[in-house]
Symmetry: C2
């Protein structure tokens, strides 16, 4: 019987004396898609529609970074270190190359992975994210809601989804799918993860070159798919456009009535777009 | 034997005493895709990869507006009148609803068709175009090249395609495909078409409400796919984003290393994106 999002067992691999949690399932012998999640999130924060749809044609790998959820160690304080940890993980589990999919802070990490460890990455998928010099949303309510010790459905509706009734419905449907896994679930991330990841995002934002903030993206040689909602209140949609303008071989897709979690709001549509992208020669 | 882009015969229909040229082929009993072309262009200015790919699953209709190429009459002087002519054409050939695909000035016409004759349009595809208040490219070379009496391949490479060698190659491949039809071709449009269409675009641009230029797009109820290159030098890519922000159910897709004719540069990719969009419930 093949594994799925809800049944794939949590495995552990030791790197530099620390145990990292991961799961992998799907079609063996393919280039795996490695999923790097949003702020504070671990392996249980993905949409089973997306992971299991991908798993029909390729392997899927979920992974908790250092100190996140089921992985040991002190949470990292910079995006670059997080990217180096991902590279060490890929090498340690014996994979040659991945298609790296990152959402929000995960998207920053996979961009740095492509820049710092280019040989490990075949293609990039950047969801609801931004480059160095990213633009955070200006609504002061956003950081407050994002800092909620135990995030609730209402928080995710506000932060990730569109404003229409249809968008809210899609958000609640996502919330239900995201909790379908009930055995062998990840422990929640510690508050320390939040305390370290947020400054890491700010430092990443402020690390941009003052004169030519996005020129460095020209070094990303991987084919890249950028997906976001037309109105991302967490990382401004303008940052998606900045990435599209400067990553040489990038496609940008924006969904209507949607924000940061556009791929969770339109999971079937996203799977088709991503599959077309991953299958392109 | 079924027709194709190169074999579908030119037909004529009379509206208000004038004969309009059109072609239709593909799968009968479907919602047809109606193609409205760019500045000065007629039925022979489309990419057979796109039209024939669409024709496998649906009908395709090409059409010369009033006074353009094979159609009789004085060329129209406003986008709104052009849209009304399209509506009259759809009604006269006995079609209930179309999926309206417009490129450049054609995209302006199909937006107005959706606003003025909403009942005739199922979905909209807007390629390399803009709304009222559109932003024209700022390079003074553009209007000069676009005004060339007999446009050549080099003109199209400059106006429609990206700047890399790969993009130029794609442009020349398009140019070759676009001339595959050798019998029953359209006569070229008269210079009068150019002389009337250009002021029509300028008037359309200047028709925007000064305070809320794009709010009127909220009245477009049709699902809409917007496609452009990341660097459109004819109608700024920012105008594609303006449409995406204000047409309620719109998806925006931008292709890399590409401009105004992004769909001609990546025809197979575009066909897949458009097919996914047209097939969505």
């Amino acid at each position: 019987m093949s594994d799925t999002h809800t049944t794939a067992p949590t495995r552990f691999v030791e790197i530099d004396g620390l145990k990292y949690a991961y799961r992998r399932w799907g079609k063996e012998g393919t280039t795996p898609v490695l999923f790097i999640p949003h702020y504070r999130a671990g392996m249980d924060h993905w949409d089973p529609i997306i992971t299991d749809s991908f798993a029909r044609d390729r392997e899927v790998i979920l992974f908790d970074g250092r100190g996140i959820a089921g992985s040991e160690g002190e949470p990292r304080e910079t995006i670059e270190e997080m990217a180096d940890d991902i590279a060490a993980f890929i090498r340690t589990i014996g994979v040659d190359k991945v298609d790296a999919l990152g959402f929000s802070i995960g998207g920053m990490q996979v961009q740095e992975l492509a820049l710092r460890h280019s040989e490990l990455v075949r293609k990039l998928l950047l969801l609801g994210t931004g480059p160095r010099g990213l633009i955070l949303g200006s609504d002061p309510k956003v950081p407050k809601v994002a800092a909620n010790p135990v995030p609730e459905a209402a928080d995710f509706l506000y932060l990730f989804f569109g404003r229409s009734e249809e968008a809210k419905k899609a958000g609640l449907d996502f919330w239900e799918r995201r909790h379908q896994r009930t055995v062998d679930v990840d422990p929640p991330s510690s508050m320390e993860v939040a305390q370290k990841q947020w400054p890491a995002v700010i430092a990443y934002r402020d690390s941009a070159d003052k004169d030519k903030p996005f020129d460095y993206l020209g070094a990303i040689k991987q084919s890249t798919l950028i997906v976001n909602g037309i109105d991302d209140i967490m990382i401004d949609t303008a940052s998606s456009l900045d990435m599209a303008k400067h990553i040489p071989d990038s496609q940008l897709i924006l969904y209507p009535d949607a924000g940061h979690g556009a791929h969770f709001q339109y999971p079937e549509r996203f799977v088709k777009h991503a599959t077309q992208f991953l299958d392109e020669q």
